[in-house]
Symmetry: C2
Subunit: 643 residues, 2 copies
């Protein structure tokens, strides 16, 4: 028997499972960013009861055994003595009680994927038609279906309609229940996918954005375009690995990993559909259309297609154009005959989410050169205008999502999301998710860690305050009570121990700054290479897409050098444009066609094989850049130098 | 606990179930022709152990109780005393041991539905295409599916193909397993429904004919048209009622009757597919196409559509044109993406089986006037030529299948299938199914009853021998040791007690002759009314379709007056034309289209609402007819009169 505290879940576990696997099986809540590879150091737990063996040596009295060296890498000797272990690197061979400290709990992430107000032209795939039928007589012996088809042809000029089999089975009773007055749902003027008795004009569709970390659903009224309910959740696949690459490894490992992740996301999407429907006061089966976007890996796993080849050169997807698949074939529990429209993907690393951004922002209809940055767990770039469009994908690493950062965490309650450093005193003000005010006032929630937007601010503010230099190195001459060392490497205290609930300070260390540099440097280098490919030396507009893009401080992003110079008034966030793209495709079939055409027109730039990528990337590691000019940041950067 | 003997099956049964219901639940083998309505008298069983109560009065000691009066109607006092009961009219309230006498066992019917040799032009819906693909590189980043689509477009000019979702899931591995050489199955030049590694040119399809009594499957090589295996079985729905009307009542009764019958036939079809595949040395999932025919009731139940309205005026079907439904949606376990093509039906009582006959015989391409008689459990008629075609359906009752006949049985081993009566001596010679010789020689199997073709012969031979008169009455002046009386009504002994295995003689009684008269009279009257509607006074050809039509004696059929006069050389049997029609549709998509067009062109005559039906029918009850002339039977009929 294994018991997890404080949540109290318990159960029998197969001999030799890791504590992390046990927690996943029993539903305990343990953070796992690297997916159990012993790389992230986030799954620290304390063994309350159990006998220890070291390095997997099984003995009759040992009920818990360490494997690998990760335990000693991430845990101090004192911690090991207090029975702290890495959950993913510790095997269970018998009974144990495991305590999961607050900082190792996943916590409920704040999902920031509201629908943006957009004016979308209505041309939905599913339309409803009300008809009154002639009753059958001995002299009019048409089949019930043919009677309905004749009615639709006569009143609406709809011809050659097929019918989906599940609808056929109950059609005769529905026709009679409605006294031969029925409402017929027709998909793409081709197929009858629902029949209801009487006049039932309302029609609903669900647009879903499957992000690596969060999944959002927008329930729309197909007759008005209005979003009637929104619902979102953490992607339940997070338990199997934080980023795309760890999900791919989990699937490739075999042992049903793909199926497990596929079921998890299908179940999650069904929950979103159910909750959104409940909120709108309809039944889940009233949802008669569905559009979905996601990056290529999410796209493949949603379709139960092995993502293995996405992660291996030449990174070829299994399918790239759009698909219409019966909801029931996917296990999606909406109207049984509804189709799921899966938006196209562009290339091995540029997914349907990016296509969503494309049809939402329409760079292909503009003269100005746009740079669209979609910052999620993966970073994707689109650059160009009506003449030419390029896309690329950057392995930013999960730093922006708080992973690989010493006190990083996801955007959950307790995460520092904004911060300011007084350049004179070095004092820090911060704001925590879940609180209304900055930490200078009274709040409900104490800090637990720092999330992506906080990390952006930290890097920019530390650079502007001279705590770190242009190259990202800590200023060794700086005197400040907040500058401290941990094993010889410097770190800056953002929140003091007494301001947190985790029992220690929250700091930004040298390694954190390096992680940010690598991530932002990759984005910047990508943009530079794309500019060169387009033969341009300036961009007119920067669009920050993705939920994350809406929460980062534009100035912080500019100061750390996330993108080449651009007038601040032309840098703006558009919210979850991928999700908006799904909604647009849900509501307008012309945009579905546009998506297929444009996804093919965008030219994908595989950055890793560009010969100049390495040198471009290296120069882009500096804040904001080693050589490039930033006319629009002149005033801010000059202020820094003056100090 | 209820135990059935001699088969020995046993199990717990809900209190108050009938013995027949118990036998169906436990899988014991009891004949049920009327579907448990107490009308047929075929489900006689003997209670070996159990305490009796009369007329459903439950007492603490009673474990078996009679209901209704059918027990006293079909059983003599002596039989009741020996504990014989009607299984469908007797409730079980406790423990019982029930003996099922040989004559009440269903027995394994001889299914006589061989495929007929026909020259069918090949144009199958599913074709296979072999392609060699270019391997993906970083500069050729098409998706795997798009790579296959491009290959098919280049080599075979196939464009705009969609793919069925289950195939998409494993496509990438198949392409790599085959080293980028694959064979693609394409349905109707529209949809990819299978992908196999390497070159796999063979393709198989299954044509299925679902008769009320028997189901036959023809496994065909789609590349040659050859029938590679045949398999058939009794329709497993027979347990729920012998004829169409009793199946409809069973469905209408509610309590999941439709679902039960639907599952039974789907399971049966899967068994046929499995056995045929095994016989041909292929896997069941190698079957990539499927075509099916059946009368309207079989059609509806196969599709899990309630047949209720087929049995009620105005007899409107739920759908009449052809359908293409994914095998998996129907539960048919062949290739998961294969389609099931369901042939169209004509009207409430003229089904897809009749359309099968239509496209097999093509009366619409002929100048001569054809009468096609499809004798199954239901009788269907087609009459006409290229100018005009009529169809009708006759409630022949199940007499031709041996039901409602005192010693009638289905065409199973032990059934008398042919007989001759010497007009001088009145002596009978007969042939039993399962034996090679007539009863004048040594054989293996003794008679158990008489089946449809035997009944035809009996009526014709008894009429020609003067045992019955033109009106069907027994000749009271005749002296013959074979003529005996049972309760005052005459009967003629066909097989003597010592020639049977059922412990009594096999006879034809007055009631049996009446049943044949009603059945054949309905067919004849139908033909007459159709002739009048066409404005003709003679028919050029009579085609006997249906397995049954192949086994009846053409002369017997003519003598009893199954159809109006026709030259004997122009009367011929074509075997299971409905099944052949399914096979033709399987192999040729042009014929599928023809079926849809022709099914609509045939004009359905609802005989029951024709004002002259009753008088026409009454006159048609006589042998061969009250007034009509039969120039081609002159010699035979004159011989009779001479006697």
């Amino acid at each position: 028997m294994v018991v997890f505290q404080p949540c109290g879940v318990r159960g029998k576990i197969e001999d030799g499972a890791t504590i992390l696997e046990a927690s996943q099986q029993l539903g305990a809540d343990i953070e796992s960013i690297c997916g159990g590879k012993g790389n992230c150091g986030k799954c620290r737990v304390r063994i309350e009861r159990g006998y220890f063996a070291k390095y997997g040596i099984r003995s009759k009295i040992a009920s818990v055994a360490m494997i690998g060296e990760a335990n000693e890498k991430f845990l101090s000797k004192a911690q090991l003595k207090q029975n702290y272990r890495m959950a993913c690197q510790t095997l269970i061979h018998g009974d144990a009680v495991v305590f999961v400290p607050e900082e190792s709990r996943q916590g409920r992430q704040v999902v920031r994927k509201e629908a943006t107000l957009r004016d979308i032209k209505l041309k939905p795939a599913v339309k409803k038609y009300f008809i009154e039928l002639k009753k059958p007589t001995l002299h009019n012996n048409l089949g019930d279906l043919e009677r309905i088809q004749a009615g639709l042809a006569e009143k609406y000029k709809l011809r050659n309609l097929t019918i989906d089999y599940p609808i056929l089975q109950n059609l005769q009773n529905i026709a009679r229940d409605g006294d031969w007055k029925v409402t017929v749902s027709v998909w793409n003027k081709k197929e009858i996918i629902d029949i209801e008795p009487g006049n039932a004009p309302k029609a609903y569709g669900l647009a879903v954005d499957i992000g690596t970390t969060t999944v959002a659903g927008y329930l729309c009224d197909l007759t008005t375009g209005e979003v009637v309910a929104t619902n979102s959740m953490m992607n339940p696949q997070v338990a199997y690995g934080e980023d795309v690459m760890s999900r791919i490894s989990y699937a490739v490992k075999g042992k049903g990993g793909l199926k497990q992740m596929n079921r998890a996301i299908i179940k999650g999407v069904n929950q979103i559909a159910g909750r959104a429907a409940a909120r709108a006061g309809i039944k889940r089966t009233d949802i008669i259309d569905f559009a979905v976007v996601g990056n290529t890996c999410m796209h493949h796993i949603f379709l139960n297609i092995d993502p293995e080849y996405l992660g291996r050169t030449p990174f070829s997807p299994s399918v790239h154009h759009s698909l219409n698949i019966k909801a029931r074939d996917l296990g999606i529990k909406i109207a049984p005959s509804a189709y799921v429209h899966v938006l196209p993907i562009e290339a091995g690393f540029v997914g349907a989410d990016n296509v969503g951004v494309l049809i939402a922002e329409e760079p292909y209809n503009q003269d100005e050169i746009l740079l669209i940055i979609d910052i999620g767990t993966n970073g994707e770039l689109i650059m160009g205008n009506r003449k030419k469009l390029l896309s690329s994908s950057c392995a930013t690493g999960p730093a922006f999502e708080g992973a690989e950062i010493k006190h990083g965490m996801r955007a959950a309650p307790g995460a520092i999301e904004k911060l300011k450093i007084d350049p004179k005193t070095g004092e820090v003000q911060f704001k925590v998710i879940g609180n209304e005010h900055w930490n200078t006032e009274v709040n409900n929630i104490s800090a637990r860690g720092i999330c992506g937007s906080g990390i952006f601010d930290a890097a920019a503010q530390m650079f502007l305050a001279g705590i770190i230099d242009k190259g990202g190195r800590f200023n060794s001459r700086l005197k400040s009570p907040r500058l401290q060392k941990d094993g010889g490497t410097p770190e800056y205290v953002i929140a003091r121990k007494e301001e947190t609930t985790v029992g220690h300070e929250i700091v930004i260390c040298q390694k954190d700054i390096r992680a940010i540099q690598l991530a932002k440097g990759a984005m910047y280098a990508g943009a530079r290479i794309m500019m060169k490919r387009l033969g341009i030396d300036k961009i007119d507009k920067v669009i920050l897409a993705g939920a994350f893009g809406s929460y980062i401080d534009k100035e912080s992003a500019a100061v750390i050098g996330l993108f080449p110079d651009c007038a601040p008034e032309n840098v703006y966030a558009v919210g979850n444009a991928a999700g908006d793209g799904a909604r647009i495709a849900l509501l307008n079939t012309d945009k579905r066609k546009e998506a297929d055409v444009m996804a093919r027109r965008v030219e994908y730039v595989e950055l890793t094989i560009e010969p100049e990528f390495n040198s471009t990337f290296t120069r882009a590691l500096s804040f904001p850049h080693a050589d490039d000019e930033f006319p629009h940041l002149k005033r801010i950067l000059n202020n820094r130098r003056k100090k």
